[in-house]
């Protein structure tokens, strides 16, 4: 089997938000929506920090769809629009999505966004990779693990864009892949492991 995954090395992430921007550009993510966000651990604001002055620490934590093996969003989807594909990715069939947003309520990672309005693009230019389908008003969307790129054997945009090389992409089912090795050797962990969702995205550091 194949289980495509990303391991994020938090020791390297500096919170520059390049992944957020590159994802938005690659996937034609409409104004006001983000598929990928950079949070700071244990903070509820952008660029937060833990501790009190001057003893502070700050761990940047990029978060997007975790591509769970036991995906809560998939379980609640009434139409089968959300599905798990043969490469271990959680994907959405936009044709089947009825906009009920059960998936958004179920996702413990707040990874999904919704097109309440007809998507707006700031410059008027329809930016984004030509192979990425444009989503209409009334559907949920989220990180596809850059399906259009990974289908072609390329790495997701957030991986290749990261100036700090914090993201490593590969197949978790292949024990010899770099991502498997890193998760194993550096004790990679999953976000909200106790939820039982079994994400493919792992964090290191």
């Amino acid at each position: 089997m194949t289980r495509l995954a990303i391991a994020i090395n938090l020791d390297r992430c500096v919170g520059c938000h390049t992944c957020t921007m590159a994802c938005k550009m690659q996937n034609n993510v409409p104004e006001g929506l983000l598929w990928n966000r950079v949070l700071t651990t244990n903070c509820d604001v952008v660029d937060g920090a833990e501790g009190t002055y001057p003893n502070v620490s700050r761990v940047y934590t990029p978060i997007a769809c975790q591509h769970c093996q036991n995906a809560a969003c998939q379980r609640v989807c009434p139409t089968g629009a959300t599905y798990k594909d043969e490469k271990g990715r959680v994907e959405i069939d936009y044709e089947k999505c009825i906009g009920c947003r059960m998936c958004m309520a179920a996702c413990p990672y707040n990874a999904r966004v919704f097109n309440w309005q007809t998507p707006v693009r700031t410059t008027g230019a329809n930016y984004g990779d030509a192979a990425v389908p444009v989503r209409p008003k009334g559907v949920a969307e989220k990180c596809t693990l850059c399906k259009e790129r990974t289908d072609n054997g390329e790495e997701p945009m957030c991986v290749v864009c990261c100036p700090a090389h914090a993201r490593i992409f590969g197949d978790l089912d292949d024990p010899d892949s770099e991502v498997s090795r890193l998760v194993r050797e550096r004790h990679g962990y999953q976000m909200l492991e106790d939820m039982g969702t079994n994400p493919s995205v792992h964090y290191i550091g």
């Binding site: 938000h17 550009m25 002055y53 502070v56 700050r58 410059t123």
Partner: protein, 801 residues
């Protein structure tokens, strides 16, 4: 599904950034559909030039609603932004007529090109070249980046500090990295810049079991401070020299200073090395030990009261330095951007010398990591016949009354014969946005009896462009065929031949053709084209001159010179001079690692007689006679002084100054991830990903009853702006910070309240004493909530408040 893109072109993110990363533009129906960056090979020692979030947003930038499409003529009051479209002929005829008139009536010294770096990636402004061929113009010296540091290191080491520091690679031999106001991650964000390399240094040290500690001395907590071994030492802005004095005091009294080095290689650290005839007790050691004219011993307790840094922390830092095998001490350009930035910058350098972490493996001289040399001008043209050079920051002072003299920092002439009568602002935003005291500056610019004519040539209608009497629309670097040297601040450098691509460009023109058309009207076309021709010939000349810099600064066959053939890289070893002949074809680039650079002043340390410094004495001038003389003759703003030694001098707007009673908070700006100077910061997409916010410590937040995200007015006697509050323990209490480059947005005929949050609405025109540089980080402010009236005005503008 959309159709496949029409074209993919190789281009550069060509701003005044040390990186200028690779862009791959996917054009569709004449628009940039999306932007990819470097997709070539990637290796730990030859990293890709990955663009940061700004480069990724380049499609939005180039299609921004602020783009200039047609030549414009001002129809309202200057600065009102009221323009009317005119033809290129009308615009150029008017500009040529004004150049002729002003040169004839006032002389070429009355024509001024303010500091502008938008054109930097393409070399010298062709408008400047045309005017040089005609009659010339007033020169400027130094810049807005590091004027005070240049003057400080010139006094201390005899060079301007741009090229003399150790490369960050030297830190591979260090166990402590000391950052004074420096963030590698934020200053240049691309994949080949210092941030990624710092991560590698850390990981390498960890893998080898070596200690590697980062100490960041900064009012802001930066991402360089990571693990438990690292340390953040916050200091009040502008007090670094007091901190250094106390650290050196500690080292001296404990016998931990490198006294041998300070005696053999320095002038005036100790009394017995002072130049003959110097007043007694004017050495630096007497200053710190309390035997100087002020009679104050520079103890940790003394410094604690000034810097806000506990005495124990200062003491502990002195121990860290003393115990370090090799400390790499460096500084960003924020600390020196203050009223006494010359003192700050050379005090930091002196710390490297006094602690002995100087001139040997793993050390630096205290300056910023070195750049590659800038690209020279194209051959030919005429040399500007005017010798007078104004400090870059002083043009507003010149507009106020003219008559700037040598005693006020003018070089090349005793005095300016006339005030500035014409401004040509090509690719810059330093008329208002990136200058200082925008409201006062507006009044000077708006008064047409002072500066009679302003030409702006730019890609965007930025705040400075609004002051143009004639505004010329320029093609952006990335939308025309070009030769770009990228990575002049990075480990990897690249000579890139960017391709042109078909898309809507209105009547935008290539800068060379604009300069050429102007030269034609001035009757100097022959001189203008000499050595550089036109069209392909000019591009070839540009490529050749960039190629020379590339070859001279790149690794030779012993290094990793290779070429990237449009994605298919071949790691072929070749010599630098061969590279100079083998220039890349359109859509191609050449890449090489930077040539290895030596440790700063290593040769001087090893043998000061054989390798003297370019200072008058050949030594490190801790006591500078040149500055002592300048102190006698300089005409300074009220209360300002010049010290021959790197002593701490309190700024007019600093902690504890009388102004602080009314305006208790220090405002600083920093290089945010959201912009490269003022480029990109006006884009909605950038704001949505990385919002601008005023960083406020929760202590000050509570004192002002502020909550997260609340809009607040930041004000002083010079103006007021609105910013959203971000409460964070990552900034020192008593200090607030804004990312630089936000676009000024105010009704200048009305309230002048700046809804754009541009820090220079508040900053001061008071220049520093030695460089006459911009000291924007010496700025006191207070916070208050918006009044009901302001809230209503804000809502009318669409501001959520």
């Amino acid at each position: 599904m959309k159709t496949a893109p029409d074209k993919t072109v190789l281009q550069s993110c060509g701003f005044n950034c040390g990186s200028r990363c690779q862009l791959r533009l996917h054009a569709e129906d004449g628009q940039v559909a999306w932007v990819e960056s470097d997709t070539g090979p990637d290796a730990p020692d030859a990293p890709q030039m990955r663009a940061c979030l700004c480069g990724r947003a380049w499609g939005h930038w180039v299609n921004s609603p602020h783009r200039l499409d047609y030549p414009l003529k001002r129809v309202g009051p200057r600065g009102s932004g009221q323009f009317q479209r005119i033809s290129w002929d009308e615009a150029l005829d008017e500009i040529a007529a004004q150049i002729k008139r002003i040169t004839a009536d006032f002389g070429p010294e009355a024509i001024f090109f303010p500091y502008a770096s938008g054109i930097l990636a393409s070399g010298q402004s062709p408008l400047e070249r045309a005017i040089d061929c005609y009659g010339g113009h007033l020169r400027l010296h130094s810049d807005y980046s590091s004027a005070q540091l240049q003057a400080g290191t010139m006094a201390l080491f005899g060079d301007d500090g741009y090229y003399s520091g150790s490369p960050l690679e030297e830190a591979a031999n260090s166990d402590v990295l000391v950052l004074f106001g420096s963030s590698m991650f934020a200053t240049r964000q691309g994949g080949a810049a210092g941030g990624h390399y710092l991560n590698q240094l850390r990981e390498q040290a960890a893998a080898e079991g070596r200690p590697f500690k980062v100490v960041s001395i900064d009012p802001r907590h930066t991402p360089e401070v990571r693990g438990a071994q690292d340390q953040w030492i916050p200091l009040r802005p502008g007090t670094d020299a007091a901190f250094v004095a106390a650290v050196i005091h500690e080292l001296l009294i404990d016998g931990l200073a490198d006294e041998e080095l300070l005696r053999s290689h320095c002038v005036g650290f100790f009394e017995d090395t002072l130049p003959p005839g110097t007043p007694p007790h004017s050495s630096y050691s007497d200053y710190v030990l309390g035997r100087g004219p002020d009679g104050t011993e520079k103890t940790c307790a003394w410094a604690a009261a000034i810097t806000g840094c506990p005495a124990a922390t200062i003491r502990q830092f002195a121990r860290t330095l003393a115990q370090a095998k090799s400390a790499f001490i460096t500084q960003g350009w924020g600390p020196q951007r203050s009223e006494y930035g010359e003192q700050t910058s050379r005090a930091i350098c002196l710390l490297a010398v006094a602690s002995g972490h100087f001139g040997r493996p793993g050390t630096n001289s205290g300056v910023h990591e070195p750049m590659r040399p800038y690209t020279p001008s194209l051959p030919g043209g005429r040399e500007n016949p005017v010798r007078a050079a104004l400090p870059a920051f002083l043009w507003t002072e010149c507009l106020q009354g003219g008559g700037i003299t040598q005693a006020q920092g003018l070089r090349g002439a005793q005095q300016l014969p006339f005030p500035i009568k014409m401004i040509v602002n090509h690719g810059g935003n330093c008329l208002t946005n990136q200058h200082a005291a925008i409201n006062a500056t507006h009044d000077l610019l708006a008064d047409e009896s002072r500066c009679e004519f302003i030409v702006v040539c730019d890609v965007m209608l930025n705040d400075s462009a609004r002051y143009g009497d004639i505004v010329l629309p320029e093609l952006a670097l990335g939308e025309r065929e070009n030769a770009v040297l990228s990575g002049f601040g990075d480990r990897v450098s690249c000579l890139r031949h960017g391709e042109s691509w078909s898309h809507f460009t209105g009547e935008r023109r290539d800068p060379w053709s604009i300069g050429r058309a102007l030269a034609e009207r001035l009757g100097v076309l022959e001189a203008f084209e000499e050595g550089a021709g036109d069209g392909d010939e000019t591009l070839a000349a540009r490529m050749a001159s960039e190629g020379q810099v590339f070859a001279a600064s790149s690794a030779d066959s012993a290094g990793h010179t290779g070429e990237d053939d449009n994605g298919k890289a071949a790691a072929s070893a070749g010599r630098a001079d061969e590279d100079a002949r083998r220039l890349p074809a359109p859509g191609h680039e050449m890449r090489a690692l930077r040539a290895p650079l030596p440790c700063a002043y290593g040769a001087f340390r090893a043998n000061p007689t054989a390798h003297p410094l370019p200072t008058p004495s050949g030594k490190i001038e801790v006591y500078s006679e040149a500055l002592a003389r300048m102190a006698q003759t300089a005409q300074l703003p009220d209360g300002q002084v010049i010290s021959p030694i790197p002593a701490y001098l309190p700024a007019a707007e600093g902690p504890g100054s009388p102004t602080a009673e009314r305006f208790p908070l220090q405002l600083i700006t920093y290089h945010g991830y959201q912009s490269i100077h003022s480029n990109f910061s006006h884009l909605a997409i950038v704001e949505s990903v990385m919002p601008h916010a005023l960083q406020v410590n929760p202590v000050d937040g509570a004192a002002n009853a502020l909550v997260e995200g609340q809009p607040v007015v930041v004000e002083n006697d010079r103006g007021a702006l609105v910013a959203r509050v971000h409460l964070t323990p990552c900034i020192m209490p008593g200090v607030v910070a804004l990312p630089n480059g936000a676009w000024h947005n105010a009704d200048m005929a009305g309230s002048r309240l700046d809804w754009g949050g541009c820090a220079n609405t508040l900053t001061s025109l008071r220049p520093s004493p030695i460089a006459r540089g911009n000291g924007q980080n010496s700025c006191l402010v207070r916070l208050r909530p918006l009044t009901a009236e302001e809230q209503a005005a804000g809502r009318e503008r669409g501001y959520d408040c």
